[in-house]
Amino acid sequence: MKYQVQIFSQGPKIIELHWPEIIAEDILLEIITLKNIIENKWCLNISSIYHSYQILSIQLKEGAPTAAFIAWLQAVVQRPLPRRNLPQRWIWTIPVCYDPEVVPTQSKYLEEKKMDLETLVKYHTSQSFLLYFYGFLPGFMYLGGLPKQLHIARKKIPDRKIIQGSVAIGGSQTGIYPVDSPGGWYVVGKTPVAIFENGKINLPFNPGDKIQFAAISSQRYTEIQEGSIHDWEKKSYHG
């Protein structure tokens, strides 16, 4: 592997692999590749496996052979990673309505930034964003790559409620609020696709994939909102 990786365990059931504390795509790809290798070999012993920017976390089941697992990990992190273990990556299109009628609170962002709507939409849809991991709220994506022009300091006093489906910007990050939540980010758009519905989670995107926001009209917004299951648009991505 390209990076030096430390193994850190917290008791016999929580084992973590620590990469250097940097936010970088090549670290993410190493994590995803290694996660895949671990899952293939140890699935029967793993109760959960997930990661953040630079930590891969494995929780073992009761009675799993912890010592053998760690010894195996130690050997694996010394070796080069086979590229074939990186899963297929996708670029997903998420429809977002930036119409002020649908997103009235958007004006706060535009006023604070002294920006017009056209510029906001241009930058927010000009490139795709890398999905690093999910966290903070159920189904909340940590996306990287927001253009500098759109960065904005988080609100000093967070809003009591940001409505589910809101697409927002805070600091150097952008993301979708999958459920209602208090938050200090500025809402800039809304996606009509419900992420939690009828006991199902509508999030086919995996870490390593890219998210492309696409501007839609308020009419299209209503159509998608009233429609049944949303068919996500995707194309393969070879980063």
């Binding site: 973590e16 953040s52 940590y142 209602d180």
Partner: protein, 284 residues
């Protein structure tokens, strides 16, 4: 199918099973019982799978009405259990007849109680689990007059004479914990303070986490988000200590100084606000 009617639902009564292990990668909290040991005991006594759905009851003061015969067992917090004015203890199988009322007064010790049924509680499984969680399951807690359906198993548990005594908490409580990733970054003095201080639980606590009153001053640098778990002891920039519990988010940006063991989480969960305890370092 029987109906369990919550005449008085209490402060925070939910259904909990073993939680949503398969969805942490999508940012879904694990959920599950605050006191896993008591939860397992309840299911064991009710002859159920260790992860079967139980009622989780916070602080007591609840009143239930059952429309069909069933057998239940309560574990965890200590409380007087009254069924139609007959009194039972925790950890004993209670035969509840149809049209009976069950009353739990306020808990004499502990905060969380588990009620298992010889049969099953019927509620929607969302993402593989019946555990309540706001926005994921239809209910986030039971309210007064709400109805829960249940199946009563036709094979009855024989009354046995061997009994498990209710738990008695010792005077000084030790909560076992492993070193977290940031433990080594603390100075020796701070490490000693963390282990020697008798900490106090604040009133800020729920199924997501518990805040402690005493602070631990430090100059550690800020971090980027990392995975967190039930039992993760977080140290905020201002030196506040927060212990994450079962409904906590799956990632967090604070320093992780300790990680409670499974029994450490169970023990801590049963301590009421203002209780004192010490961490006990575990080696592994």
């Amino acid at each position: 199918m029987g109906k369990l009617i919550f005449i008085k639902a209490g402060l925070f009564t939910t259904i909990q099973d073993s939680g949503r292990l398969d969805f942490v990668g999508k940012g879904i909290p694990l959920s599950g019982p605050m006191d896993e040991e008591a939860f397992h005991l309840a299911n064991l006594l009710a002859r159920k799978d260790p992860g079967a759905a139980c009622l989780e009851i916070y602080m007591g003061n609840i009143n239930l009405y059952f429309t069909e015969n069933c057998q239940i067992v309560c574990t965890g917090a200590n409380v007087k259990i009254e069924v139609d004015s007959k009194v039972y203890a925790t950890n004993e199988i209670i035969n509840v007849s149809a049209y009976s009322k069950l009353n739990l007064s306020s808990f004499s010790q502990g905060q969380w109680l588990y009620m298992a049924i010889n049969g099953s509680f019927i509620s929607e499984k969302v993402l593989g689990s019946q555990s309540f969680y706001p926005k994921i399951t239809p209910l986030s807690k039971f309210s007064d007059n709400e109805i829960l359906f249940y199946f009563s198993s036709p094979s009855l548990i024989p009354s046995d004479f061997a009994k498990i005594k209710p738990k008695v908490l010792p005077q000084m409580i030790f909560v076992p914990a492993y070193r977290g990733p940031s433990f080594a970054s603390l100075s020796e003095e701070q490490q000693i303070a963390l282990i020697n201080t008798s900490f106090t639980l604040s009133t800020i606590q729920n199924r997501m986490g518990i805040h402690l009153i005493e602070k631990l001053k430090h100059e550690l640098p800020e971090l980027i988000s990392s995975p967190v778990y039930p039992g993760t002891v977080q140290l905020t920039h201002a030196g506040k200590i927060i212990i994450l519990m079962k409904d906590a988010q799956v990632t967090g940006g604070y320093h992780r100084i300790l990680q409670l063991s499974v029994s450490g989480i169970s023990r801590l969960s049963q301590l009421k606000p203002h209780s004192k305890f010490k961490f006990k370092l575990l080696e592994h």
